[in-house]
């Protein structure tokens, strides 16, 4: 009797848990579903639903402001990812493997862009740029994006580096490989999953960023999120919904591919260890 009572209670709890989880996921996914739905809305501005159409998926390519800002965002995101992953990878290794004066200071500095509200760092950079007379534009946005992507990249990659154990690297160098060969053939493969996560994270952070891009943009061209922010008052048009729907599908596909490659790398590593 007592056992069945406990079991009943447990079962009730698990049903309650499932219902709760479904509600939370619904709240997280409703905005995405609504965004996708309104990309098929047959109306000039998205105020209410006016019937189904797929025309926006063609028309979005005629919207030169939209496509222009998309390219601008993509170029910045790709460059920010490359720079952040490059500096982040060697930086993570350097900060983990070497003792030097000021290491603790740099480690603390890395947490500032992650923790302090983005607007603070954005206006701080803006003041510096305006004071030294830098023209605002792609370069300044890129610097802003890298400044928060590098810390995230380092935190992600650092977690992958195995403590102080560099016996594999030492073995490689004892066997006659130089430092660069060792880095490419021994170190890099072992931290590759972390590097890929860092790249993915940097790209998504950069492409979705509003605050830095808004504060550090020049007058001529803005990124896609800044364009959307400026459209807000007049109403966002369905072609933007169509574009962001395509983007989320591409990102999810890339993420799945990323996971497949990661698990393949893991399998290969396991095989090599077995041999």
């Amino acid at each position: 009797m007592a056992v069945s009572k406990v079991q009943k209670k447990k079962k009730a709890f698990s049903i309650l848990g499932n219902v709760y989880a479904v509600i939370i996921y619904a709240i997280l996914y409703i905005p995405v579903a609504v965004m996708m739905m309104f990309s098929f809305n047959d109306q000039r501005y998205n105020y209410y639903w006016n019937g189904f159409t797929t025309k926006w998926y063609g028309k979005l390519f005629e919207n030169s402001a939209l496509i222009g800002s998309l390219w601008y965002s993509l170029i910045i995101a790709v460059l920010a990812t490359l720079i952040s992953v490059l500096i982040g990878t060697i930086g993570a290794l350097g900060l983990k493997r070497f003792e030097f004066k000021g290491r603790k200071f740099i480690n603390n500095m890395l947490y500032i862009p992650i923790i302090v509200p983005e607007i603070v760092l954005a206006v701080a950079l803006l003041i510096i740029f305006l004071n030294i007379g830098t023209a605002l534009g792609m370069g300044t946005i890129l610097i802003g994006h890298c400044t928060f992507c590098i810390p995230y990249a380092i935190v992600t990659i650092k977690g992958r580096i195995s403590g102080d154990d560099n016996s594999l690297e030492e073995a490689s160098m004892d066997l006659g490989a130089n430092r660069i060969q060792t880095f490419i053939r021994v170190t890099l493969p072992s931290i590759m999953p972390g590097v890929m996560s860092a790249a993915f994270l940097s790209f998504t952070l950069s492409i979705d960023d509003v605050v830095m891009s808004n504060m550090l943009a020049g007058a001529k061209q803005s990124t896609l999120p800044v364009l959307i922010l400026s459209m807000n008052k007049a109403g966002v048009t369905p072609d933007v919904n169509a574009l962001t729907t395509i983007m989320i599908l591409v990102i999810v596909a890339a993420m799945i591919l990323n996971n497949i490659i990661k698990s393949a790398l893991k399998k290969r590593q396991n095989k090599e260890v077995a041999i």
């Binding site: 997280l28 930086g91 070497f98 603070v120 003041i127």
Partner: protein, 302 residues
Amino acid sequence: MSKKLDDNSDLKQIGKKRDVKRKTLPALAMAGPVSLWMILFVTIPMLFIIYISFMSRGVFGDVVYKFSGESYQTLMDATYFKVILKSLRVAVFTTVLCLLVGYPFAYYIARKPKETAAKLIMLIMIPFWTNSLMRLNSWLLVFQTNGPVNSFLQWTGMTDGPITFVYTDGLVVLGMITNMLPFAVLPMYSSIEKLNKSFLEASADLGANGATTFRKITLPLTFPGIFSSIILVFIPTLGIYTVSDMLGGGKVLYIGNIIKNQFGSIRNWPLGAALSVLLIVITMLLIFLYTRFASIEDMEVV
């Protein structure tokens, strides 16, 4: 290794030279770029914004480089002080709701087998790769005057006319919570997941009921995770201006909006800098509290 050779100064010299070649150069090459980047684009700008906050505003919106506490005094003015208090209130409210909603959810995921849990976490992340402004815009569409929520409320007869949700603080808070929830769930999930189950069993064996075990064991042991969540939700919420821009229609102003305006149309850099310093101080205070009982490196930021 080199300690045994200490008495031989020649060997020591050679060792030092080798150390420079073996350690200093690679350290410089690897840690150098990131250090330089952080100093140039984090340390210097942050110090400079503190400096600017103690300057004063010229007649034409320029910065007069003379020490003054003017901007900090302005913050005490009723108009600004009200905004600061309101931002703090909204940030506290958002954080508390994120914790209350997020903790049971994190607990639910943490009790699942590892593989399932990983998938459930992935399911949380996916919506966040959608453009955040477009997700906010969706709430606007759902809650607008002739939108589905209002139609439903009128259809059920709960209200006669449409309720104005759009451009209210309530909708802004909803936007904040849905944007911040993952940052609350992930750190709490990882601390609950690390929780040693045998403690819970021991507590139950010793006669504690579920509530007592939760209060005396689970809650204290997962507190670092909870505190990480507080930091990761509270601080960004305090500074964010995009949510209030998208859902508040320019009528709802928080600290972030005020800072942004000082560097745009209003042009009062020292005041914007002083508000930024306020955010920095609040951040540092919370981080200081956090480091009293947990290492900053344990903070689950990714």
